[in-house]
């Protein structure tokens, strides 16, 4: 009985995973292999044509999603790392206030936040309208409904998910280890490059994971900020599922996206060094 106790304690979480992850995934997988239409119903035909069709029809959007997601992730990393570094090492007693400010946007709904970015980036909006009025920007300048606007929106929306894990990793760096590097003749830059940065890589990995995946799959930003010519794979899946009721195609697209993301993450983990990632898990 005693030996079973840990398994019994873990049982609820296994059930949770089974009911809310494994079962729906299996259902989706089965749907993705069916053919038919919403009126006559779908029948299982074990046809992979859904996958090949989806790939050939929507490869542009898939590639665009990866590019937008990747670009947004890089932008988040570029903005987020210094912010996390500042909060971890320089904020002193204001640390919790900055962390609170970081989470403050979450008190407003995701869609609303994105729409307000739309206002911000509008051609004659508060920002560009004013700048154009001052003659600092040409009248034809516009950002809204471009890929840049979508990437900016994705960056804004997921930035905290990049900052927080990096902050946690940096926060855990023993200040005495940093002092030790300085004691061993390392300059500030060398200390960062050889000690602080490598020790924070697990946080970077987690941050990239937590931002790249949702940013690539996100439909909202492309819809609100991207106009009609910058649709991402998330929009396609949404429309196919909710508007066109093409469940098999939508499911096949979802699985394709998942596979592409998993492969991407795998390559990234290998590039960063498996050891680093495992170390992050071990700590």
């Amino acid at each position: 009985m005693k030996r079973l106790t840990p398994y019994l304690l873990a049982l609820p979480s296994w059930m949770w995973l089974a009911i809310f992850l494994v079962v729906p995934m299996a259902a989706m997988a089965s749907v993705s292999l069916q053919t038919g239409n919403a009126i006559d119903g779908f029948a299982m035909t074990f046809s992979v044509s859904n996958y090949t069709d989806a790939l050939s029809r929507y490869s542009t959007q898939l590639v665009r999603s990866l590019i937008y997601g990747g670009a947004a992730t890089l932008a988040m990393l570029a903005i987020g790392y210094p912010v996390a570094y500042f909060i971890a090492f320089k904020a002193g007693s204001r640390k919790s206030m900055y962390l609170f400010l970081l989470l403050l946007p979450f008190f407003v709904s995701f869609v609303l936040r994105t729409i307000s970015w739309g206002f911000l980036l509008a051609d004659d909006g508060i920002l560009f309208g004013t700048l154009k009025g001052w003659g600092l920007l040409p009248a034809g300048f516009h950002v809204l409904a471009t890929g840049f606007a979508v990437i900016a929106g994705l960056t804004y929306n997921w930035l905290p998910f990049m900052i927080l894990p990096i902050y946690v990793a940096l926060e855990r760096v023993d200040p005495r280890v940093v002092e030790a590097a300085q004691d061993l003749y390392a300059s500030r830059i060398a200390t960062f490059r050889r000690v602080v940065l490598p020790l924070s890589l697990p946080g970077v990995f987690a941050g990239v994971l937590m931002t790249f995946v949702p940013a690539t799959a996100d439909p909202v930003n492309a819809q609100v900020l991207g106009g009609t010519s910058n649709t991402m794979i998330g929009n396609i899946i949404q429309t196919t599922y909710l508007t066109n009721l093409q469940y098999p195609t939508a499911s096949a697209l979802s699985f394709t996206l998942m596979a592409v993301l998993l492969v991407g993450i795998f390559i990234y983990a290998r590039a960063l060094g498996t050891e680093n990632v495992l170390e992050a898990a071990a700590r």
Partner: protein, 355 residues
């Protein structure tokens, strides 16, 4: 001119602002540490010993005063430009690097040629007995091994002085004693000045050439282990180093009457406090004769400790003294609880305190 000291502190003060109030962690320390010396900063926690060391390393900037390394003023020089290295209290090894990379770090930062790095790191790992473990990560090693990696990482740079901040604190007693001997051996071998911060008086006495006993941000006494033990400069030093008995009274003509006995205090008059080490006192059942201090008392506790026995003897008036008797000649001195005894010691073992 005398040879230049390896380290020189001149009126060093460190002030902190804490809750709007200025707190002095170090209140003015002046001392010189000679080349090749094993020097200890000894004191209780909060006495300023670690702050003093961090000012030598460059992690703290003195509020006032001057730090000199080999006659050169380095008061405002950052730690990475100082030719001293530190062994941190919890080692502070780089967790993402192998033992080899940890030890090679300083040499790489100084752009030492590859060939020389390989040779020196190899030699150093041999000295600390870690050959064959180059590829290990710090977390895969025992406390004692990590300790030796930390030592190697600092020493491989051949610094002008090595600073050690309670480096043995995290080790168990047996290992600590072994490392004490080991440290002393390594210090002799490399001939580098060691500055050792500790709150463990036994450790300081065992290893040091000289000790600075610190209390409340000041050096209370500076001297060799014997001098500090036998001739404590203050009640604090007497109490902090080993066990000591403090006896106070009024003396006239070199004699202090004390509870039906007398304590010989040559050349002293007026109010006097003397300290007597427990092992200097002899317990007898009969009143001894001769030119000795003699005091009557009652045994209140007997603790047998193998090589010696510790007695607590009540002298009346709330004074209790501790007496250590070697068990070599216990035939003479088997006192038991409740026995009325005479304590005696030679005049030179009563040491009058400065304060």
């Amino acid at each position: 001119m005398a040879e230049l000291n390896a380290i020189e502190l001149e009126g060093v003060v460190k002030e902190y602002l804490s809750h709007g109030e200025v707190v002095q962690a170090v209140k003015g320390v002046t001392l010189g540490i000679a080349e090749g010396e094993f020097f200890s900063l000894l004191g209780p926690s909060g006495c300023g010993k670690t702050t003093t060391m961090r000012m030598i390393a460059g992690f703290e900037e003195p509020s006032r005063g001057m730090v000199k390394l080999h006659g050169q003023d380095v008061t405002n020089v950052p730690p990475n430009k100082r030719d001293v290295n530190m062994v941190f209290q919890s080692y502070a090894l780089f967790p993402h690097m192998s033992v080899w990379d940890n030890v090679a770090f300083g040499l790489k930062q100084r752009k030492t040629p590859q060939e020389e790095i390989r040779r020196r790191v190899g030699e150093m790992l041999e000295i600390v007995d870690l050959t064959g473990r180059e590829k290990r990560r710090p977390r895969e090693m025992s406390g004692g091994q990590q300790q030796r990696v930390a030592l190697a990482r600092a020493l491989v740079n051949r610094p002008r002085a090595l600073l050690l901040d309670e480096p043995l604190g995290a080790l168990d007693l047996k290992l600590r004693q072994a490392m004490q001997i080991e440290l002393k051996r390594i210090q002799r071998e490399v001939g580098i000045t060691f500055v050792y911060v500790t709150h463990d008086q036994g450790e300081a006495l065992t290893m040091s050439d000289r000790i600075a006993v610190m209390n409340d941000g000041l050096v209370e006494q500076l001297g060799g282990p014997r001098e500090i033990y036998e001739r404590p400069a203050s009640a604090f030093v007497a109490g902090f180093i080993g066990t000591s008995n403090l006896l106070s009274g009024a003396a006239s003509g070199g004699v202090m009457e004390f509870g039906g006995g007398r304590i010989l205090v040559p050349e002293l008059d007026g109010a006097v406090t003397v300290t007597v080490r427990p092992e200097k006192i002899t317990i007898c059942t009969d009143k001894p004769d001769g030119e000795v201090s003699v005091v009557p008392g009652t045994v209140s506790e007997v603790v047998y400790l193998g090589t010696y026995t510790s007695y607590a003897v009540n002298l009346g008036g709330g004074t209790e003294v501790t007496v250590f008797q070697q068990n070599a000649h216990d035939a003479m001195n088997t006192a038991e609880r409740g026995d009325a005894v005479w304590l005696s010691w030679l005049p030179q073992h009563s040491y009058a305190l400065g304060s």
